[in-house]
């Protein structure tokens, strides 16, 4: 029997597979298809203080090895999520969940962290300082070491829950941003969010997505995400949830060898709603194939020697 268990800030997960925020809603659509309790956990749809409709449509365009999206953090808002979605989620998900939170400014981040920090169902606060599709906040925070430092510091003063900073790859030096998070007191790092990209329609000769520029995700970003996880692992001591284009159990193992303690599965869920389930189920066989007894033992393994 291989051991798929991993630990994030003292929280033991049955396996490292975590559907990534924005690709799994609040879990309900997937719980209709399979028992989502087989997952390590999942990160729910990025939630803001006020409800948001998001950006105009079209919001999605296809790319050769992925998609670009410009949803713009559509969500029903903090109060609704706490009063409606979390109790509903309890019916189909018995584990703790990762709360993905997006603020327009540091005060909003603090309000969100304070509110979700009180929720017993929440295991980790994943702070979205990396959304490329919103005007206020989002990626603007995550591209500045000073901003991420100040945000973490503030959040750590309002909540006891582990704070993981979800970072954008759209920076010159991902390592310095990750270090600033650690210096500010972050308990972990999630990376990567989407890379900015765009498509132009040859018939209309206009950008396909209404917002023109969008976030690229899917298989194509995997090597970039892997590289960033590898670099950040060398620079920080806090755990990393690695994500970006992960589509199969082999990708999970590769991401962990690069330095991830757990692994997000994102866009793959949208193409195949059973993707995360299939990855969880395929993991033991892949581990056996590569002579891995315990996943905990391979974290950062690619750095040895």
């Amino acid at each position: 029997m291989v051991d798929t268990k991993v630990t994030l800030s003292g929280w033991e997960l049955d396996n490292p597979v975590i559907p990534a925020s924005g690709t799994f809603g609040y879990g309900k659509e997937f719980a209709e298809l399979y028992d989502i309790n087989i997952l390590g956990t999942f990160s729910f749809k990025g939630t803001t203080v006020e409800p948001r409709f998001g950006n105009p449509t079209p919001r999605i365009a296809e790319c050769p090895a992925g998609i670009i999206n410009s949803i713009g953090l559509q969500n029903p808002g903090m109060e609704h999520v706490i009063s409606e979605e979390l109790p509903e989620m309890k019916k189909y998900f018995g584990k703790k969940v990762i709360a993905n939170l997006g603020g327009a400014n540091i005060d909003e981040y603090a309000r969100l962290a304070e509110a979700f920090g009180k929720e017993e169902q929440v295991g980790i606060l994943e702070i979205n300082v990396s959304c490329p599709n919103v005007k206020d906040g989002g990626m603007a925070h995550g591209t500045s070491c000073e901003n991420v430092y100040n945000i973490v510091k503030r959040l750590k003063s309002v909540t006891e829950k582990p704070v993981y900073m979800k970072l954008t790859p759209n920076v010159t030096d991902i390592v310095s941003v990750a270090k600033a998070c650690e210096d500010g007191g972050a308990d972990g790092i999630s990376l990567i969010n989407t890379m900015t990209g765009m498509r132009v329609d040859l018939k209309s000769k206009k950008p396909v997505v209404a917002n023109k520029i969008a976030g690229y995700s899917g298989k194509g970003v995997f090597p970039v995400a892997l590289r960033m996880v590898y670099q950040v692992y060398e620079a920080v001591k806090i755990p990393i949830i690695g994500m970006g284009g992960v589509s199969c159990a082999e990708d999970v193992v590769e991401m962990m060898l690069a330095g991830a303690s757990a692994v997000g599965v994102g866009t793959a869920n949208l193409i195949n709603p059973y993707a995360s389930k299939e990855i969880v189920e395929a993991l033991p066989a892949v581990m056996e194939k590569y002579g891995i007894n315990s996943l905990k033992d391979i974290i950062g393994g690619a750095h040895n020697g």
Binding site: R59, N69, I71, V208, L270, I271, P273
Partner: protein, 243 residues
């Protein structure tokens, strides 16, 4: 929703840039006309959502236009091949709302879902009237099928090369009906909305990510809050739409 792997039994061109594909499998997840299926297409990252034209005796029929790379690839699929399909997506039309004389309005690629709806309405005891709009003679399809299904059928072409010259709205204005169902381009919807005199429902199209409600890629605003075209739609009631 269900993920299934049905076998293609036919894929033939039936009009200009228009193909009819038949697949054999268990389509019990399709419970209402107006729902859609989402095809994985070799060489494309995203699936291709296509409306259900008919389901009978374990055979799914879809009629699609080749409008881009995905549907071009689909048009070359041969009988015997297996498809990866998410089946039974979306809400579908409310057959019970149609009354004695429901009006079916289909424009171009919006015609196919009207066919299954037509059959369901006839089975429910209604006498539907169908108005099918196309650009030109070579794009016309399914006129005989609607007639055989029991609908009084009118065909319009914009250039007048077949049927009545003009738009679906040129015919609708002269008809009596109890309720309407429409599927087609949004420009047609806007003209229909100015013409129709009854309650009804519209089926919308939008670029989708997942097709089952997870990604929020196809959201729209309605009078009763935001809805996902793929999950809460594609059919919206006339009274909830913000034009």
């Amino acid at each position: 929703m269900e993920r299934i792997f049905p076998k293609v039994t036919g894929n033939a061109k039936i009009a200009e840039n228009t193909y009819e594909m038949r697949l054999s499998g268990d389509f019990s997840s399709i419970t209402a006309p107006g729902q859609f299926v989402n095809f994985a297409v070799e060489g494309c990252y995203l699936r291709r959502p296509i409306s259900v034209c008919d389901v009978e005796n374990g055979i799914l029929t879809v009629v699609y236009k080749t409008v881009g790379k995905g549907t071009e690839i689909m048009s070359r699929i041969r009988p015997g091949e297996t498809m990866d399909v998410l089946s039974g997506l979306g809400n579908g039309y409310d057959v019970g709302a149609g009354g004695k004389r429901p009006l079916l309005i289909g424009g171009g690629a919006g015609v196919p879902p009207m066919y299954m709806l037509c059959k369901a309405l006839v089975r429910a005891g209604a006498r539907p009237v169908a108005v099918l709009g196309f650009n030109s003679r070579n794009e016309v399809f399914y006129e005989d099928e609607f007639k055989a299904a029991g609908a009084e059928t009118h065909v319009t072409t914009v250039d007048g090369s077949y049927g009545i010259k003009g738009y679906v709205t040129d015919v609708i204005g002269k008809l009596d009906y109890t309720y309407f169902y429409a599927c087609g381009p949004e420009a047609m919807f806007k003209a229909v909305e100015k013409t129709v005199k009854s309650d009804g429902e519209y089926s919308f199209e939008e670029r989708m990510g997942c097709g089952f409600g997870a990604c929020m890629g196809c959201s729209c605003k309605t009078k009763y809050g935001s809805k996902r075209i793929c999950k809460d739609g594609p059919v919206l009631k006339r009274g909830e739409i913000i034009w």
